[in-house]
Amino acid sequence: MTYAVIAYLITIALWFLWGVATLRRERSLRDD
C-alpha cells in the first residue's frame, strides 16, 4: 500500500510544481 500511496503523492506533487512554475512564467511575461 505504501508504494501506491507514494506513487499517487509524487504524481500530485509533480503536476503541482509544474502548475506553479507555469503560472509564474506566464506572470513574468505579462508583467515585463
Binding site: 500500500m1 508504494y3 506566464e26
Partner: protein, 232 residues
C-alpha cells in the same frame, strides 16, 4: 500583436474544473477498486501509470503533427502547440518513469530491469528531454525549425515503445491483462481524466507562448519562442 484568444479564457477554467474533478473522482475510484489477489494494493498504481503513459504518447504525437504543420506553414502557432504539448507530455512521461519502478519493486522484485518496454521508454524520455535542452539553447527562428525537426525525428521511437513487447522477447509487461469490470471501469475513468488534464495543461502552457510572441513583436525579437527564463 498576437493576443490570447478569448476562447482560451472561456475554455481554460471549464477544462481545469472538469479535469481536476475527474482526476479526483478517478483517485476515489482507485481507492475503492477491488484489491488484486496476487499483487495486493500496490496494483492500484496502474490507474495512474497507464493513463499517464497514454497521455505521454498522445502528447508527443501531437508534437509530431504540429511540427510537420510548422515546417509546412512556418506559422508560429504550430510551433507553440508542438512545444507546449511536448512539455506537458514530458511531465506525464516523468510520472510514468517514477510510478513504474514503484510498481516494479513489488511486481518484479527490482526497481529497474532492462526489459524492452522500460528501455525504449527511457530512450523516449531522454530524447524528449534533449528536445527541451536544445530548444532552450537556441534563438528565434532557428529554435522553431530545429524544434520541429526534433519533434518529427524523435517520434520514430513512439511506435517502437508501443510495439516493444511484441517485437522483443523477455518483456515483463503483459500483452493482455485480465481485470474485473470494476477495475476496467476505474482504468477507463482514469484515462478520460488524464486526457482531459493533458488538454487543460496544454492550453495553459500555450498562454506562455502567446505572451512570448506578443513580447517579441513588441520589440524584443530574441524572446520569440523563448518563454520564461529561456529568453536570450
Amino acid at each position: 500583436m498576437p493576443t490570447i484568444p478569448r476562447w482560451f479564457d472561456r475554455l481554460g477554467p471549464i477544462l481545469w474544473a472538469a479535469s481536476l474533478a475527474l482526476v479526483a473522482y478517478s483517485f476515489w475510484l482507485a481507492m475503492r477498486a477491488p484489491i488484486e489477489v496476487q499483487m495486493g494494493p500496490v496494483q492500484k498504481i496502474v490507474y495512474v501509470h497507464v493513463p499517464s503513459a497514454i497521455a505521454t504518447l498522445i502528447g508527443f504525437g501531437i508534437t509530431f503533427a504540429a511540427s510537420i504543420a510548422y515546417l509546412a506553414t512556418k506559422e508560429w502557432r504550430w510551433d507553440a502547440l508542438a512545444a507546449s504539448s511536448c512539455e506537458v507530455a514530458m511531465v506525464s512521461a516523468t510520472v510514468v518513469m517514477i510510478t513504474g519502478p514503484l510498481w516494479a519493486r513489488s511486481a518484479w522484485n527490482t526497481w529497474w530491469t532492462w526489459e524492452p518496454r522500460l528501455t525504449t521508454f527511457l530512450i523516449l524520455w531522454i530524447l524528449y528531454a534533449g528536445y527541451h535542452v536544445v530548444r532552450a539553447s537556441l534563438r528565434s527562428h532557428a529554435r522553431r525549425t530545429v524544434s520541429a525537426v526534433m519533434g518529427i525525428v524523435f517520434f520514430v521511437n513512439l511506435p517502437i515503445v508501443w510495439k516493444s513487447i511484441e517485437w522483443w522477447r523477455g518483456s515483463l509487461h503483459p500483452k493482455n491483462v485480465t481485470m474485473t469490470p470494476e477495475m476496467r471501469g476505474t482504468l477507463l475513468v482514469g484515462m478520460a481524466a488524464w486526457m482531459l488534464f493533458y488538454a487543460a495543461a496544454t492550453l495553459q502552457r500555450l498562454r506562455i507562448e502567446w505572451r512570448a510572441e506578443a513580447r517579441a513583436e513588441a520589440g524584443n525579437p530574441d524572446s520569440a519562442g523563448a518563454p520564461g527564463g529561456a529568453r536570450a
